[in-house]
Symmetry: D2
Subunit: 360 residues, 4 copies
């Protein structure tokens, strides 16, 4: 094992940016956090207090950070709307990139990162560029995927998956919806990625998508063409179905559950969420507490993600998640969002192009 | 409490007919099983051995059984394709009717039972006519419904429900599919009924349905326009969604689960099925066995159903499930089946008529 | 199957007596409840209203009921302190007996029912005499026992079992303790019986018992030499251990759990109690309700018990639980109670006699 | 937060020594592993390959390591039989000590570490000396303890706890038993520590102990006065009871479970162990895998333990677990072991001295 360390910068110091910065600083032995950037003064103030004393340079400008001497890799953790642009800039400057999900909110934007070859990432095959779908680094999802690959459930045919956030009565996510790309692009993107992973992203091809949604608790979401509860169905050409539920209305906590149903068995992941191993017995019954946020649930996965991204750069190994798969996920997510808003079923031909209606 | 007993006849002695006959014979203190009928000789032979010694008359002809002296009520447990016809005949002869689900396979057929007033059941408001949706009599579903009505989860907005049978490698259900009406009419009808029950069948109105299906284990089902795994979405005009999964491919056992998600909480029913209170610890982990069939899961509910139907007749109380709701369930199930086969989304206007596309 | 029915009388109409009477009346097709007796006027009033209309004769005197014409079997459901006496009288009159647990509170009293041959039950081997340990008729315990017998867990070596009642703040059980024989004879008797059943009552022999107890919520129990929480250990000569916990202080509901640990596996029964299949998701977590009483938990087992006792009489088959085993259970329970009160460990030799200290 | 780091040496490089060494090296940001020692050549070889390249000095002699320049703290992870001796030596040299459990196998040995004042640790109150009971650092146990302290379960009265290892058919633990102090000192010591923690080690005083044990799978353990399954009861003067089960025979995996039962509620920790969030549905039922070892279960707790010990030294804060409590645990464990072997109940007076029999 080489003793070389990777110099990393983190772009964005909002909720996720702070977490990524601390993660690289404390939990990734082979990486050194050297720089962070944020256009927001209060965020930079936080960094000045918490990171600067450990030798981390704090930038206002992302471009300035890119010029930081010795910087080798960027973790893009800014607003979704600038993910693709910042990733592209980093690639142009020869930096490896770990980009928060989703790559972008529309397939047009994210495509500039990927195929065809004139696009940015494709021009620099020497760089490691990965979209960070944290669930692929979670021990339970990995165990399920390994068991599926061992043939334990036969051929996977149906995937049910949900991303359900605890209700945040602050209304935060109404404003957030303006730039998030909507509930399918922001939340269900994880479940779409799981479908691509379990159904084999190399071969499976989307055939149709359909979605419906409601605003059960936040009618104002309609202003941004979004919903607070949504159900989507994704049909694949090889005879598989993924069906998805996303919600911002959970009462008890974060409920991110997945079932993979095969011809000979089924695997479930986190069907009944639990914060820890404690159960509470009081009048009224037996109760278990839940993780309240996806961070509580997936904290360890983010560490594994950062460690493995770092290792892929240092050891020149393929990144764990292909960029094309992340692009495909945005494509499906954006189509689901469109289907939900327009009320139409959307079809794709086997080349991935939108079509009127596929042959049944 | 009156000591009068209700004289009951059971039509059909197949798998369900035998169960209904034994149920009325052994478990319903206020009913007396007086007659059974079946066109099948081996089924009648079974009845000759098991029921005749206890004073039950065995008929070949359903019509002859209807003329049995003193007969007051009929339990229709024959093939789905004759449910509506037999129910109608019974009503015409002035018998109360408990009919197995579904009432029929198409909305046209079942409608003759119901509205408008010239139709059969509507002409005899003195008779008790009920479609037997067993889950409405299950202690767990009742507890969930009561908790929902108490306001424990706020306003129910999303219902996820599945009817998933254990894989039967005999291929039985391929032949069965010819007359069953298809997986949505045969299996998901239970989940549709639950949606109507939890969303309030008096007021909720279906807006659109969409479904997709695959044949993962039984390609021959396509001959009968059926599938072995199917996912459906039902949208209602009052801003609610039910999404359904039906499968004939479960490896571990019967998995009939439901979640009702409201604005302030969630209720789940049978999320993690268990045959009993035993867990088995051996190398490989901790294991719990599952009910293998819906009968194993819902046996007690069928008894409650028969007891309450009997009581509604003897005490002249309303039947627990309105006939109009059972008709509405067939309408939604048949539309989902059509959507799955044709690949189209199907819309309804607020009067319940098919329409091109609803206003969004 | 014969159509003959067994004529049954129930002695005692307290909490359990009412349940046994209704059970024989409604749920046992091959039995007819013909008589009940109680010295308590209000209990007889209940019977006059609920049972007499169905042809059941209500007696004040137990002896008078024994003379009821055609009476064939007695279910003794009176106070524990008269169980043995009433059972003996019934046997002397030639009646079959189903006696509630425990047979009595001291081994001296209950022994008159059993060995040696001059004792009552032994003089009438033609009569069916059984102590009703309801758990032996519970579907889960039966499943566990069958799996153990199939060898699934190797040789059972350790049994942990608990009988834990919900806290009854009325103080009812303080008065009740005066005649109950104490927490080990009243509650743990079930767990002792399970140990005898799973360890094979034909061959296993108790070697030592030890117990400690506290009064955490009801100090007044000390007046009756009883405790509200108690832990006991029973050592057997064939190298097995049962350890028991009984409590009257559970907050959430009835918690009767058992683990059977063998050389190759483990079985647990009801480790995590649940009232039904519903889970409730609200802020604070996921909650499941519990049965509140042993009746809620074991209702179906009492029906099976009555059905099988009836069948053993009508078909002249051995009763499911041997009388000698019920006597052995009282012996162990009374010794545990004594050990708890005196603070001493109590030893038995291999012939079952008390001894100073066994050879180790 | 100071940027100073603590220089740590690890004594012993067996199974636990390796883990502690890697733990301090990789997971404790404020500590630097500077030295390790082992008398075993193959263990030193492992260190030469895995630790030396990162600047860690490898010693054969523990005494030599103590003289390592700049060394500030020792983690004692050698055989239990030398724990106390090595801890004493480190204290004499002015080093802080984190000692693996148990402090020793007899109360005599471990007492030299503690009270009275002439004893080693007591002479150096400036040094941090802690016995590492890993469960006190586990997130679930901490959550349970916090909830107990908040009053959620009233006054804790009964503690049931078990330490149950998966069956190791290699017979390793027969040889291991020669020096381990026996199953109560080696395994149940954790459960005893939990009892002291939840019942308040400052005030609770042991009144009696009693234990029984069997050799269900490893009769050879009797050569070392040990057993493979054991049940112990510990009675405290303030009216509380802890009852314990230890086993080396679990089929499915590591089963370390605890229940704390109070006057108003109950808390359970790890009642139904699970390796992760995956459930496997195959013919035969639904299965979940278990951690196979205590390391799989408590890995994160060991990291927290090392981090907090390091912090207590660097910040001069009290260690999380008092040394007197660790001594008390050995005293109870050794008495349980003696009770099991001799078959006697052992009593203590309120001053902690052995006595004939306490006043009841």
């Amino acid at each position: 094992m080489s003793t070389k360390k990777l110099s990393v910068g983190v772009a964005g110091l909002g909720r996720m940016g702070k977490r990524h910065a601390l993660n690289f600083h404390q939990n990734v032995p082979r990486a050194t956090l050297v720089a962070v950037s944020s256009p927001d003064a209060s965020e930079r103030q936080w960094a000045a207090e918490n990171l600067a004393p450990h030798g981390v340079t704090v930038y206002e400008s992302y471009d300035d950070m890119l010029a930081h001497k010795g910087l080798e890799a960027i973790c893009v953790a800014s607003a979704t709307s600038v993910h693709a642009e910042q990733a592209n800039k980093a690639i142009e400057k020869g930096k490896h990139v770990l980009c928060e999900k989703p790559l972008g909110t529309t397939v047009e934007v994210v495509s500039v990162l990927s195929f065809p070859p004139e696009h940015t990432a494709a021009k620099r095959p020497d760089l490691k560029v990965m979209c960070g779908f944290s669930r692929r680094f979670d021990a339970s999802y990995r165990d399920a995927h390994a068991k599926m690959q061992q043939g334990l459930i036969g051929r996977p045919a149906i995937l049910r998956s949900q991303t359900c956030d605890v209700l945040d009565p602050s209304g935060f996510f109404v404003a957030y919806a303006q730039f998030s790309g909507g509930i399918f692009v922001d939340c269900s993107i994880h479940d779409i990625d799981l479908a691509l992973w379990f159904f084999d992203e190399e071969t499976t091809k989307v055939k149709s998508v359909h979605a419906v949604g409601i605003t059960a608790v936040e009618p104002d979401l309609r202003k941004h063409n979004d919903r607070d509860n949504a159900v989507g169905t994704v049909e694949f050409y090889d005879g598989r179905i993924a069906y998805l539920y996303a919600s911002r209305m959970m009462a008890a906590g974060q409920e991110d559950s997945t079932e993979i149903i095969g011809t000979k068995g089924k695997l479930s992941v986190n069907l009944l969420p639990a914060e820890n191993h404690v159960k509470i017995y009081t009048p009224g019954g037996i109760r278990q507490e839940l993780p309240q946020t996806y961070w509580d649930r997936f904290r360890a996965a983010f560490t594994t993600e950062a460690i493995e991204f770092t290792e892929s750069v240092l050891e020149d190994k393929p990144v764990p998640i292909k960029l094309t798969s992340a692009v495909a996920a945005v494509k499906i997510g954006a189509a689901l969002q469109e289907s939900m808003i327009k009320g139409t079923k959307i079809w794709f031909d086997e080349q991935g192009n939108r079509t009127e209606k596929a042959q049944l």
